[in-house]
């Protein structure tokens, strides 16, 4: 784990009977970044988050959070961590303010923190209502207020946009971005919606069946979205080598054909290199990939 890591997992696994929920996962979340942990339902996102928080114990490997190894009896580090796991929950008979006051006492935050969290999450009108009567969206706001109340350095949020309306989603996005830029907070968030995190995250880790399939900078993802040239050839490996030698910086094999990035202006040159080497060219077409199809391709759901 480097000193810049907020979260580092080393070959962490979790097995339930025969089912492997998380499989030798290596994560390295840098301080100050927004890292989105992206995967379908059941991919292992929540299980991973539970292990980061010490709610469940890994079957193998280990977890470090803010430089401290997470394990039974480790508590101090959680004064610097705010979290939300799966559904937002609160004591239904207690008011919003009382629920937050419990969090304040348990984290040792100052009294003013409760009012601050209420204001930050725009819970003012509901502050003295019982949590049990809140709508789903306001319950989510209360859970986020609880996570933020003690001004943590690291936020671990499981599907933070759950139950929020579109305006609420934008608001949370802005809030997380400002916490990162103004307070240097690190955000680790899970989601199953790529479009949601592509607007917010610095890096995205794609997880499926408990394995980390790919980690990608959002900038790079955007470049992919910009476009590539799809090249069908009889000898993909040889063709890829020739194209690389010809100065095409990014050539990737994909399902029996090649994707050549940043090359839309150089289509004739691609044809020349391939045909000149005696390789059969079966397809040559500019294409672009939207974020969703990229995600589906990486997780193996579509070709």
């Amino acid at each position: 784990m480097s000193v810049d890591s907020a979260i580092a997992t080393t070959e962490v696994s979790k097995r339930y009977g025969d089912a492997l929920a998380v499989d030798t996962l290596d994560l390295d979340v840098r301080r100050g970044e927004i890292y989105a942990f992206l995967g379908k339902n059941g991919a292992g996102k929540t299980t991973t988050i539970r292990m980061l928080l010490g709610l469940i114990r890994p079957t193998g490997g280990h977890v470090e959070v803010l430089g401290k190894r997470v394990g039974s009896g480790v508590t101090d580090v959680f004064a610097r961590v705010g979290y939300l796991v799966e559904t937002a929950t609160a004591y239904p008979n207690l008011t919003v303010r009382e629920n937050l006051d419990i969090q304040r006492r348990l984290t040792g935050a100052p009294r003013a923190a409760v009012a601050e969290a209420i204001e930050l999450m725009r819970l003012g009108e509901n502050a003295d209502r019982r949590a049990g009567v809140l709508s789903l969206g306001y319950k989510q706001r209360l859970a986020l207020a609880r996570a933020l109340l003690h001004r943590p350095e690291l936020l671990i949020l499981d599907e933070p946009a759950n139950g929020l309306d579109p305006a609420g989603i934008v608001e949370i996005r802005e809030l997380l971005r400002s916490l990162t830029s103004e307070r240097g907070v690190t955000v680790f968030m899970s989601s199953h919606i790529l479009a949601e995190v592509a607007h917010l995250a610095d890096r995205i880790g794609i997880v499926d069946e408990g394995r980390l399939l790919e980690e990608i900078d959002v900038e790079e993802l955007r470049a992919r979205e910009r476009g590539h040239v799809r090249v069908g050839v009889s000898e993909p490996e040889r063709a890829a080598g020739l194209l690389a030698d010809a100065g095409f910086a990014r050539v990737e094999p994909a399902d029996g054909h090649l994707r050549v990035f940043d090359a839309e202006e150089r289509v004739p040159e691609i044809a020349r290199v391939i045909v000149g080497a005696g390789i059969a060219l079966t397809e040559l077409a500019p294409a672009h990939e939207d974020l969703e199809s990229y995600f589906l391709r990486v997780t193996g759901d579509v070709e």
């Binding site: 539970r50 928080l53 010490g54 709610l55 469940i56 114990r57 039974s72 009896g73 508590t75 101090d76 580090v77 959680f78 004064a79 961590v81 979290y83 796991v85 799966e86 559904t87 929950t89 609160a90 004591y91 239904p92 008979n93 207690l94 009382e98 006051d101 419990i102 969090q103 006492r105 348990l106 984290t107 040792g108 609880r146």
Partner: protein, 260 residues
């Protein structure tokens, strides 16, 4: 830190409706006993009201203060074992029922403190109930006009009831452990009923002195000897049950996976 955890647990207790329901439930105890006393004293009037059928079950019962107190001890001891299971199941189980257990587990607070604070809250709730019921019982006994009252008798009766309440409380941590193990209300309540039944079975065998759930009925004189003649070993068994329950609950909270 323990003081802060305790403050949060007391707030949860204060805001709960269940607290007040339990008071109503246990308050029915002295009312019921007083009704029996009245039936014994006034069989003719009870018959007029259609209550005579109950008289068959009341053979041997005297409408006096000593008899009233011994029945009260029974209610607090045996009823208390069930009521305490209910209280502990609620105090621990609500975190699973409301889905809030996960919110307590990644905090700068050792999980042991939650177990201890909840057990203290259960004790505060339980003994507050017992005291309220004792005061109510005294008032009802006066209204019914039972003979044979003396301050010494009242103190002795209250002492026996508190003793029974205390012994019953020593079994509560095991129920807490079952609650954290089963993550809900039903397992501890089922467990308490099963133990009560087993305690009754063992009370009729030679093992009664060594089985914790038989020791409570024994200690209040419901079966066999009254409390004074129980061997020290029985108290050691109950004390060990108390400690084992706390340790098991702390270990469960500390090491078990929470997949809520």
């Amino acid at each position: 830190m323990f003081a802060q955890v305790l403050a949060t647990e007391l707030l949860k207790l204060r805001r709960s409706k269940v607290t007040w329901f339990s008071l109503i439930a246990l308050s029915l105890g002295p009312l019921g006993i007083a009704l029996f006393m009245w039936i014994v004293r006034e069989p003719a009037r009870a018959a007029q009201l259609g209550l005579l059928g109950t008289k068959a079950n009341l053979a041997g019962l005297e409408a006096t203060w000593p008899s009233y107190f011994s029945m009260l001890t029974l209610v607090v001891g045996i009823g208390g074992m069930l009521m305490l299971a209910f209280i502990v199941a609620f105090v621990f189980g609500r975190e699973y029922a409301d889905g809030t257990a996960k919110n307590l587990l990644a905090l700068p607070v050792g999980r042991m403190w939650f177990v201890l604070a909840k057990l203290v809250v259960a004790a505060v709730w339980w003994f507050a109930l017992v005291v309220v019921v004792l005061v109510e019982a005294l008032a009802i006994g006066r209204v019914v006009g039972l003979p044979g009252f003396s301050p010494g008798l009242a103190l002795g009766g209250a002492g026996d009831a508190l003793m029974a309440a205390g012994v019953a409380y020593l079994l509560a941590p095991v129920v807490a452990w079952i609650t954290t193990l089963g993550r809900g209300y039903l397992p501890p309540l089922g467990f308490a009923l099963a133990m009560l039944a087993l305690g009754n079975v063992f009370a009729k065998t030679g093992w009664a002195l060594w089985f914790p759930w038989s020791i409570v009925p024994l200690s209040i004189g419901m079966v066999g000897q009254p409390v004074q003649t129980l061997p020290l070993g029985s108290f050691v068994v109950v004390a060990l049950t108390f400690l084992a329950g706390i340790v098991a609950t702390v270990l469960q909270m500390r090491y078990a996976d929470n997949t809520q």
